[in-house]
Amino acid sequence: MNATKRKPKAAAAERSLPLQLLADMLRIRRLEEKCAELYGAQKIRGFLHLYIGEEACATGATHALAADDNVVATYREHGHALLRGVPMDTIMAEMFGKAAGCSRGRGGSMHLFDAARRFYGGNAIVGGGLPLAVGLALADRMQGIRRVTACFFGEGAMAEGAFHEGMNLAALWRLPVLFLCENNLYAMGTALMRSESQTDLCVKAASYKVPTLRADGMDVLAVNEAVRKAAAEVREGAGPFFVELQTYRFRAHSMFDPELYRDKVEVEAWKERGPIHNFSAKLKAAGELTEEAFLALDAEAEAEVAHAVAFAEAAGWEPVADLLRHVTSGEAQR
């Protein structure tokens, strides 16, 4: 069975941007709902951080980037990887730990990579991606390549020294880094107000003389518009840009989280703002989407997920004899 996305790609061509945004949010949602199910079935192990509720961020943002821009993400990166073009089949295979996985089964959920698509991975160290993004942008600048490096991170990462050092370097050297902060209000169980003395994240970023924008991370069009503006400036060579996407995680932090730190009322209130539900309702109200069309998109996403699961199930394991490979490139080339 070979790893390719079928219908979606074809269909995508004719689709209007709003419909494609909706379709992509659905693809992420259905993929992750299945992941949660497969985690219960112990097909997927280790840590699994779901993005459910936050889909508008990755969707709106990635649709504002060029095909060969660099992307650096976190351990909550299934959606980002998928929308940057990593086939759902190989993402699922990776979570199964199969050799056909996008990281050969070595990385798992937190370490999805795709060098050809300049997707520099999942990173399981909070804040670890920021200095890498600065370096990728530096490399582009030194090689005269006009490219944006988009760096996703959570608001919790802003308390790390890596954020401070990375922001300052990018601003000081005026590098083309697009900092995309997914502010879902919590870092595991720690609320933003217990993590930052200054909870206005744009004010924090501006203190490095970096221009900022804030967008409703539950509204895919708002995200897309803000990131387009920011990416355009970065591409123009104006230096780095910081965009805060205000969003919320509907599920637990990871599959081990008892969620003692936030009350159901708050969660329910945010769920009212569900990015998929509200956006499709809006499109329907505007007559741009029929229930049938919605169900078709959903069915398409479900089909893609089903194919991915079948692909992952059918895929083989990396032979144990290869254990010591891929430690260094030299060995990998053997």
Binding site: G46, A124, G161
Partner: protein, 323 residues
């Protein structure tokens, strides 16, 4: 009473918090979240936000703050979620905690306890599966402990807090759910290694998460009529060479088990000490069972292959015994 390693840690922490007002727990999500491994679950409501202090994601900052608080008269227990994130705090741990007493000519002390989960085995992949105990065991000024039993989990914190100098406690994440009887006397010596199973033909020396594996290997060998001793290092710095030498001096053969990567491992230090202290009593070269020299892979079959496992320990013992 039969309790889990996690519960033993909880009892030790609660006792410390109740018995000494200078003691407080600080770290990421130790409070409202209940602790990543649920070790401090419920403590936030019991002891309040000042003594069960949630910190921002600032490992270098809050570990340094723990050192400062110790200088200032408190007895902080700083929890670094896992050893993997301690890399961000190493400057403070080495250049401040371990050195301040010496650089001040003995004037100031840092009575700080740093707890962190360590080890692999749960398919958390390369960045979340480090075993860097030997990095810490290399540093003068630190005491490094690795509780591997319910008794040590219950008993090590009190003497660690009584130590006027910084103590680092490594809790192997695979041990939290381990259960055992807690005897009435769980008092614990943080100077000496412990013989977990007496034996005559070879000494299997391990620590932390490798101790249960070493004991299982000893059982397997016993079923084949091979009688080996299991030594739990317990104290990774300063090493209790006397106990190691005494054991190997009796058995004349040694297998050292270490979840760290082989090159530059604590197992190498143990082998060197054995050679330095009982070279002429050795009937075979000491063997090492360590992690393979590869970042820990995510896939279960690959992770299992990368780590020390009972069959590897059994094979190594048979090799040094040449049976």
């Amino acid at each position: 009473m039969r309790i889990s390693y996690r519960e033993a840690m909880r009892l030790a922490l609660r006792e410390a918090l109740e018995s000494d007002p200078r003691v407080f727990l600080m770290g990421e999500d130790v409070g409202r979240y209940g602790g990543t491994y649920a070790v401090s679950k419920g403590f936030y409501d019991e002891f309040g936000p000042e003594r069960i202090r949630d910190t921002p994601l600032s490992e270098l900052g809050f570990v340094g703050a723990g050192i400062g608080a110790a200088l200032g008269g408190m007895r902080p227990v700083v929890e670094i979620m896992t050893v993997n994130f301690s890399l961000l705090a190493l400057d403070q741990i080495v250049n401040s905690a371990a050195l301040l007493h010496h650089m001040s000519g003995g004037q100031v002390s840092v009575p700080l306890v740093i707890r962190m989960a360590t080890g692999a085995g749960r398919q958390l992949a390369a960045q979340h599966s480090h075993s860097l105990e030997n990095w810490y065991a290399h540093i003068p000024g630190l005491r490094v402990l690795a509780p591997a039993t319910i008794v040590d989990a219950r008993g090590m914190l009190a003497p660690a807090l009584a130590d006027p100098d910084p103590v680092v406690i490594f809790e192997h994440a695979q041990l939290y759910n381990m259960e055992d009887e807690l005897p009435d006397d769980w008092s614990c010596d943080i100077e000496r290694a412990a013989i977990r199973r007496p034996g005559s033909q070879a000494s299997i020396i391990a620590y932390g998460g490798s101790v249960p594996k070493a004991l299982d290997a000893a059982d397997a060998l016993a079923r084949d009529g091979i009688d080996v001793e299991v030594v739990d290092l317990r104290v990774l710095r300063p090493l209790d060479v006397a106990t190691i030498a005494e054991s190997v001096g009796r058995t004349h053969r040694a297998v050292v088990v270490d979840e760290g990567w082989r090159s530059g491992s604590l197992a190498a230090e143990v082998v060197a000490r054995i050679v330095e202290h009982c070279f002429y009593e050795l009937d075979a070269p000491p063997a090492r069972v360590c992690s393979e020299e590869v970042p820990i892979p995510y896939a279960k079959h690959m992770e299992d292959a990368a780590l020390p496992q009972v069959p590897k320990i059994v094979a190594a013992a048979r090799e040094v015994l040449n049976v």
